[in-house]
Amino acid sequence: MSSETAADPWASAQAAAQAAMTPQPGRGKRVRVVLAERRRTRRVVRTLADVEEQTAQGEELMRRLMRDQLSLAIRLGGLTVVVLGSLPLAFALVPSLGGVDVLGLRLPWLLLGVAVYPFLLAVAWSYNRNAERYEQEFAEMAEN
């Protein structure tokens, strides 16, 4: 059962070690035994320890990451709110907008029924890219 072996690193390690010790006919190569995932073998050096131990330097690094992430989220969220929020207002203030035909469709139908979704997707894509970049920078700073 796959979940059993996954839950027990010892079982898989033992199996791998055994496989390595048993001479295989036709394959005399050495087998590398991986005892743990990469994540747990991370290099713990000074800056990372700073972060973990909440020293002034680590704390400052962390605050900056949070500030960057939050301001990114607020900027993109604000953009979305302004774009979506202006639609009801525009329809209320300029009722004739509701009667405009574009490509055989009324403008409100086109905007709310179709165009909204690619827009939301583009905002999400831009957020993911930037958020990952901030994290990358943080991780590099913390690990070197």
Binding site: L84, A139, A142
Partner: protein, 601 residues
Amino acid sequence: MQPSFVSFSVLAILVVALLTVVVGTFGMRSRSTSDFLVASRAVGPRLNAAAISGEYLSAASFLGIAGLVLKDGVDALWYPVGFTAGYLALLLFVAAPLRRSGAYTLPDFAEARLGSLWLRRIATVLVVIIGWLYLVPQLQGAGLTLATVTGYPLWVGAAVVSVIVTLNVITGGMRSITFVQAFQYWLKLTALAVPVFVLLIHLAATDAESRSSLGADPPRFFTADTSVDVETGVTLRVDTPTSLVATGEVDGRSVDGPLDWVAGEHEVAEGTELRFTADSRVPAVTSSPVDDESWLRPLSGGEFPLYQTYSLVLGLLLGTMGLPHVLVRFYTNPNGAATRATTFVVLALLGLFYLFPTVAGLLAGLYVPQLLITGTTDAAVLLLPGQALSGWLGQLLGALVAAGAFAAFLSTSSGLVVSVAGVMSTDMLPGRVRDFRVATVVAGSIPLAFALAASSLDLSQSVGLAFAVAASSFCPLLVLGIWWRGLTDVGAAAGLLVGGGLSVASVLPVAIGGLSPAVEAVLAQPAMVTVPAAFATMVLVSLRTRDRVPADVARILLRLHAPDRLGFAQDREVARFGTAPAATPRVRRGRHRRGLRPVRR
């Protein structure tokens, strides 16, 4: 209703129910508590995104939106926009940090962030309330669907769905649910997209002449006492003398009381309410309101359309992140980055799906306008193929839609029952697999009782209430908890009680009636008032109780925000709660980081 259509539909619904159970058994091998509750946190982004969308697209999306488009026109499109944009808000402010917090449920998050057990209890109660508020319309939708396609009484569909869901959750748990949900997303998309494409081709191929022959359908009877609010003036034709009660303007005279219609045409002005008794004939619509300008233009319904629109969208936007079943699904992502990837795919899948209910609603205006008189616009999608296409093709497509609708009830209800039962079993019971099963039965049967007792509302609107409650309770807790160091347990509790309490209480006066229009508008869409109230309460009370800020707040926030590869994130030990001795050693065997747990007070 032709008998062959009934048997087609019942067959299709049976196949969906059967497939749900069969696909569910793929995960049956999983037997640890961790597998059972969170699919061992190892589901890839694409499968997970399909599962999240499959779970999220409920009766409100599958049936409700097309019905609202038929009834309200372009204003109804704010529902799908809000449902989708909710995931953007979730992505921007909550997704990755929430996943890294290791919280499996919202009460978990409350406890992990603020280290308070009594706050956890409040959150638990709110999760159960929101879950049930959302479950009731699902079950009512199931009743409506089965009643529409087969003529069975309303309770049958509700009972069938709750029994299937309860059994499936009991036997399969979370692992199997993941596959079921993913499968059901694609089923729902197909079940709506194929009929819509066929009908569009049909519409392009036929001319206006064949469309006008729609009036030739056989006379229908009201199956129950029915009240109809006429939002755009219509002319109705009755073939036999009909007794009804009207409030408003009929045939150019204002009426308020009983009315006897002779056979012939009657003009009903907009704003009139007609009440028909059961077994009287449904009048036919001679002038279709579809051509009416107000239907095509935005902001034409209600007393305060601008406020209602903003408040609705705010509730949907911020409510998504506070829905208990959504959060549980996010927890099955392996880490924060995968959570972001998953959310992006979810946005794409939802946007794709929501194109179709919109078009279906437009088509319903052409083919099934009589639903405007009966008031059961939620049935529009179900009746559309059979009304538009004669012969076996229409019946087959009708059966496909019925199957898709059932997939919608099954998937959303499963997710809700899993999360409500998960919360109940770990917070109110000892938290073993057996307790999860007991909780599942409770979580599934109580909303069934409510669904049978309560009168039916519009599906999308009653689901909107669950969103409003979530937006005014858990949204502030999550956003402030993730981004603000100053949040305290007392502040969070006060905010949950004020926001959640106000939004839940808003239901009661609406049900009683007799209020000024302004008050009624606020109560019908409370989010615009209750969300800021909840945020303000949390911030102000937290500032007053500054000494209760958890001592290890910096450490907790580090865990939420540090990139995945640094390895600060921590998963909840699923079996930690209660005694659950059998499952605990398994979870301890090396998969979890320990030592960053907040100190309990």
